[in-house]
């Protein structure tokens, strides 16, 4: 099948510098897991007005004032519970209501931005379908972008609409996770916390301080942060382009022989877009949101100017999801459980990251065949590899690391264009999303999604050895299994059904920009992204149409909230249970055997569900590329 002309892939394309950057990334990330995980556990278990590292002293008054204004009852200091708690149903209603408000606010701001302040270039209202899509997108922590930021959104919409949702959708994910952890760690309890307290404390003590630090660091590297209007600069050499000439009514001008006339337009200046970008980009990465301030997202030099800003941002993408694993172990009073889940994530993540790097470093055989004079091999002075859609300052290793991290986490920001990746290099990010965004995943949502897989894994293991499945001493009953199955299957169904609808309708297929199987990949990638709340894209797909805005918007909404509700139901149900004592027959869930069991369940569900679809897209394209 594979033709003999194909040069075999060679390991020599992975450079020492590239490997070193990846090792450094993983080491720094793991070094921050314990301190940040410990810090977050203190925040989630703390009483109102108190937080570690002096944050309680600085912001405790604000937290107490917030509860007073909200009418949340706080008990006198020293009494338990420290505040009025909720069962899972009121908790879920609160979360849904809070997110519904977010949707209305973002939609309203977009539609009314022309009449509101902080719109220096006078952008008009965002079109209705697009505004709907973007509102769902940012509320659901997906941050799919059907629009180009610099030409669509006013500064006010960016900061008060999108920026706020960057914080609040992240806080929502973490709050739901904390509720689930309480369900696992409490015994015979009727409540799982208070959603208002959780949302407030996460935002005040975790997201705001971390974002402030990162935002200032990013500005120091050149990320813009201003309310000034775009800056016009003179070009060193003037340019020109031609376009169809039009008369005063906008109709095409014809010459005497009936042909369309063209006119030449001179371009002597360049407009540098500005805005309050750094503050938004910091939370975009930390909150696994991913929606860019500019169209090119973190490939834009004003959004991600230097290798250092790139390192900080890609670190921020996985920082909180990784650290939450430690928080989980800390809060269930068994740190080994947190390590086990983190280990399972790393076991999937590191090989896939390496694979993307390798595939991208191979370059494009069609370029080699058509233009042999072009050199695609890496050297100390050139990145080599498949450089279409990649920035020179990041090269192959920096782009591949980002692509794997942003799709392992449900971040979805990009520093290179995934649409131009080699077929197998692009398959990896697509499949990382299709695994259900549980390999790190979104802040909070990744770990609660993974814990749903853990429930499935202990159930399967229980069947295999003929024992009642238990996790952390809690018996897993049919109710938990049903809820876990819903949470695992909803994204799969949304991805495949959405793709199927889109490829059957002309409104779906007419938006693709690349021919052949890659066009199918563009559609599959879009629904994998929306159906798993990631937000990255094969960006050649023209998704800013009523069809895609509606369909992808629905996928994002159901994927987010049809998982949150079952997860909270599991939390409530587990909280009421007693803890059964550990015996010789208890299946330990912190051992390497269980880690592999969990990895196998995640991989098998992901592979069985998506291999047929992947075969039609990237795999066929790879065979075409190799066959030339």
């Amino acid at each position: 099948m594979i033709p003999h002309t194909l040069t075999p892939p060679t390991l020599a394309t992975i450079t020492g510098h590239g490997a070193l950057q990846i090792v450094l990334y993983v080491v720094v990330l793991l070094a921050m897991v314990k301190p940040l995980g410990w810090f977050m556990a203190r925040v989630f278990e703390g009483v109102p007005g108190s937080a570690p590292l002096g944050l309680g002293v600085a912001l405790g008054w604000l937290e107490r004032l917030t509860y007073r204004l909200c009418g949340v009852r706080v008990s006198p200091i020293g009494s338990t519970p420290a505040y009025a708690e909720m069962g899972w149903k009121p908790y879920a209603v609160g979360i849904l209501l809070f997110n519904a408000l977010g949707f209305i606010a973002v939609y309203g701001l977009q539609r009314l931005q022309h009449a509101l302040p902080a719109n220096p270039v006078g952008l008009g209202p965002v079109e209705g379908w697009s505004a709907f899509n973007t509102s769902v997108s940012f509320v659901s922590n997906t941050n799919w972008q059907g629009y180009g930021g610099e030409v669509t959104m006013s500064y006010l919409t960016q900061m008060l609409g999108l920026g706020v949702q960057n914080f609040l959708s992240a806080a929502t994910g973490i709050a739901v996770l904390v509720a689930l952890i309480r369900g696992l760690s409490r015994r015979s309890a009727a409540t799982i916390g208070n959603c208002w307290v959780d949302l407030t404390r996460v935002t005040l003590y975790v997201l705001l301080p971390l974002s402030s630090l990162l935002a200032v660091a990013l500005v120091s590297q050149g990320v813009v942060q201003t309310f000034a209007k775009p800056q016009e600069v003179a070009l060193t050499v003037p340019l020109s382009y031609s376009e169809p000439a039009t008369n005063d009514d906008g109709g095409a001008l014809k010459s005497a022989d009936g042909r369309d006339q063209t006119k030449t337009v001179a371009v002597a200046t360049q407009t540098v877009p500005l805005g309050p970008a750094a503050s938004q980009i910091a939370i975009k990465q930390l909150g696994t949101n991913g929606g860019g301030f500019f169209n090119a997202n973190s490939a834009h030099p004003l959004e991600n100017p230097t290798p250092l800003s790139n390192f900080l941002q890609v670190l921020a993408i996985l920082l909180i999801p990784a650290a939450l694993c430690w928080t989980f172990g800390e809060m269930v009073r068994d740190r080994r459980q947190g390590w086990a889940v983190l280990a399972a994530m790393l076991v999937i993540f590191i090989p896939l990251l390496t694979a993307t790097y390798w595939f991208e470093a191979q370059g494009n055989p069609r370029v080699a065949a058509a233009a042999p004079i072009v050199d695609q091999s890496p050297s100390p002075l050139a990145p080599g590899g498949n450089m279409e859609g990649k920035e020179a300052r990041f090269g192959i290793a920096g782009s591949a690391t980002w692509a794997a991290a942003t799709t392992a986490a449900s971040n979805g920001s990009v520093n290179s264009m995934h649409d131009s990746f080699t077929p197998l290099g692009g398959l990896v990010p697509m499949w990382l999303m299709q695994l259900g965004e549980v390999v790190f995943g979104g802040v909070g949502s990744g770990l609660y999604g993974m814990l749903m897989f853990v429930i499935v894994a202990v159930f399967v293991a229980g069947l295999m050895v003929g024992r009642t499945p238990e996790y952390l001493g809690k018996k897993i009953d049919p109710f938990e299994m049903k809820m876990a199955a819903i949470a695992v299957l909803v994204p799969c169904a949304l991805t495949l059904l959405g793709t199927a609808v889109a490829v059957l309708l002309p409104q779906g297929t007419s938006s693709t920009s690349n021919p052949g199987p890659h066009g199918f990949s563009q559609i599959l990638y879009a629904f994998s992204s929306a159906g798993n709340n990631n937000g990255s894209a094969f960006a050649g797909l023209s998704a800013n149409t009523p069809f895609y805005n509606l369909l992808l918007g629905l996928a994002m909404w159901f994927s987010r909230f049809w998982i949150i509700v079952p997860v909270l139901a599991v939390a409530g149900s587990l909280a009421t249970k007693k803890v059964t004592p550990t015996t010789n027959g208890t299946l330990p869930t912190h051992t390497p055997v269980f880690v592999l069991m969990l990895v196998a369940v995640v991989i098998i569900v992901g592979a069985l569900t998506f291999v047929p679809a992947l075969a039609l897209g990237p795999i066929v394209e790879q065979l075409q590329l190799a066959g030339n």
Binding site: L199, T203, E232, A278, L381, A382, S420, G540
Partner: protein, 213 residues
């Protein structure tokens, strides 16, 4: 449900104010005091104070308005750019265009055509100044593939080295003199580890123009 309305509305309002107004304003304040140059787009100004570029945004040099390959040959070319209506158009509100990659798939025939056209353009520029390319000299891939943002200010040192003989001949400079300028505008990996070594095309060209005027 009704008991939830007050906390939902009030908390949403408070957190919106905090994260959507106070936070960005505070960061802007810090940024404008501590890093005014960076916070405002890293604008490069000419000797008489006029803004002539951003040190983070590239400019187009291969497709000069005159269309004369002799003019284009005098400059170092940056990465090809997929922005519209002209390359390196960072923002055009009339056309509704901004930063953008080509998003061409590796199997898209248009990508191969683009690469071949860029190879030909480089050859024409060489021919225009009478530079005969030595046999076996290859073109680094980043010089014929478009960047992700369409605004990439950098090329690889190899892509700059490839253009040195042409630019030197076009400007009547020695190759060593041009090479020294390239070295001056080359930046290595951050701390020897992060990123890739790159040459800053706009700053190199501005320097080149100063030297030969």
């Amino acid at each position: 449900m009704l008991t939830h309305l007050r906390p939902a509305f009030v908390l949403f309002a408070i957190l919106s104010l905090l994260t959507g107004v106070i936070y960005p304003l505070a960061i802007t304040g810090i940024a404008q005091i501590a890093f005014p140059h960076e916070a405002n787009g890293s604008i490069i100004t000419s000797a008489d104070g006029k803004p002539i570029g951003s040190s983070l945004i590239g400019q187009e040099f291969a497709a000069v308005a005159s269309g004369d390959p002799n003019d284009a040959a005098r400059w170092f070319w940056g990465r090809p750019s997929a922005t519209g209506p002209v390359p390196y158009s960072a923002l055009n509100l009339d056309k509704g265009t901004g930063s953008s990659g080509s998003n061409l798939a590796p199997t898209n025939p248009a990508l191969i055509d683009n690469v071949k056209a860029r190879v030909d353009a480089l050859a024409s520029a060489d021919a225009a100044v009478g530079y005969a390319r030595t046999a076996g000299r290859t073109i680094p891939i980043d010089l014929v593939t478009s960047s992700a943002s369409g605004l990439d200010p950098h090329i690889s040192p190899a892509a700059a080295a490839y253009q040195v003989p042409r630019v030197a001949k076009a400007r009547g400079l020695s190759e060593d003199a041009v090479r020294a300028l390239v070295t001056k505008h080359t930046r290595g990996r951050t701390a020897g580890v992060l990123g890739e070594p790159v040459v800053h095309v706009l700053e190199l060209n501005l320097d080149l123009a100063r030297q030969t005027r």
